[in-house]
Symmetry: C2
Subunit: 189 residues, 2 copies
Amino acid sequence: MPSSDALLDAAAGLLARRPAASMAEVAAAADISRATLFRRFPSRGALVEELSRRAVQAYTAAVDAARPEEGDAVGALRRLLAELARLSPGYGLLALQPIDELVEADLLALATAADDRVRRLVHRGQEAGEFRVDVPAEWVVASVTWLVVAGADGVRLGRLASRDVGRLLSTTVLDGLRRREGEAIAGSG
Amino acid sequence: MPSSDALLDAAAGLLARRPAASMAEVAAAADISRATLFRRFPSRGALVEELSRRAVQAYTAAVDAARPEEGDAVGALRRLLAELARLSPGYGLLALQPIDELVEADLLALATAADDRVRRLVHRGQEAGEFRVDVPAEWVVASVTWLVVAGADGVRLGRLASRDVGRLLSTTVLDGLRRREGEAIAGSG
DNA sequence: ATCGTGTGAGACGCAAAAGTATCAACACTG
DNA sequence: CAGTGTTGATACTTTTGCGTCTCACACGAT
């Protein structure tokens, strides 16, 4: 009898890999019977909604924990990446992939609000001269999101050590964004 | 009556967002009737196989065009990123997401071979002293793959200009990988 | 005008999956 | 022991999607 957390973790892991998996497969992955699965979640939609909710909450919690408004922008971004790397192995943000239009409006608003805090962090760093100004904040949000997915995927496939992901995330994101003294900024050619 | 290309583009766009979409939805997205869709592809499996084939071939063609074995590693990687950025808007590699075990073995082999060429390019750059050695080639492959997805997604959502994607890809990947003279390499802390 | 081709609309059978209901087994509690 | 509650197994109905088929219509070529 796995706890509700273990059930959701197993379901997230399976559905991230195979979004079309049936409720029977989900139940098998969680080591419970199909009947019990339907007792906990009255429908498939309710299950994926709960999964989306957890993913968005984990993302929001990571942004909260990073305190993106405090200190210098480089340090704040580094804290954020560390938080995001922490939650990626296991089930991570993979459930965020199909977060297009189907999810509940309040969840979308939560995710958007967290994205906005990251955007403001980038703008703050640009105004302070820490970040290059020819990299749009939107690209930072998008690349961070998908690089977290890249890390989780690499770990899942056994091609990346999970303890390395945080460092690699920081390297890739920060080195492409940080502005160095005396370095010319390339134009858009 | 959309051409076969237009049909496949529409199908790829939909299935990348919603891998569980039904054939009826695919037909609607391509603006043809369900009957016609089945006339062109005898089964759903045949459709997704064709989609996977196209995606893998586009990826392989991009690697070919970049000539990763020629010239210095930085330039070669820059060429590769430019090629990948070119194919991303439209439908890109999104169809590669569910390339886990379901696809045909020959396609998987093709994709793996192209990945290997990229890995060798990274190793070559590391041995030549152009790239830092504390970033595993596996991370480069994974991050490039998903950053291409990030670019395509940003363009699709209207948040990124497609002509900027190539430059941003280069900035993010190369600045995190290139080794600079006189710069200390951070340990894994 | 008529033939051939491709298309959309719709109905059909079939299988798989969703969701519901029942029952027996087991654990925990007093 | 009696009572309560959760689970698994199983059978069942309903829904959904796949794949096939037929038919009518539009179109171009002859």
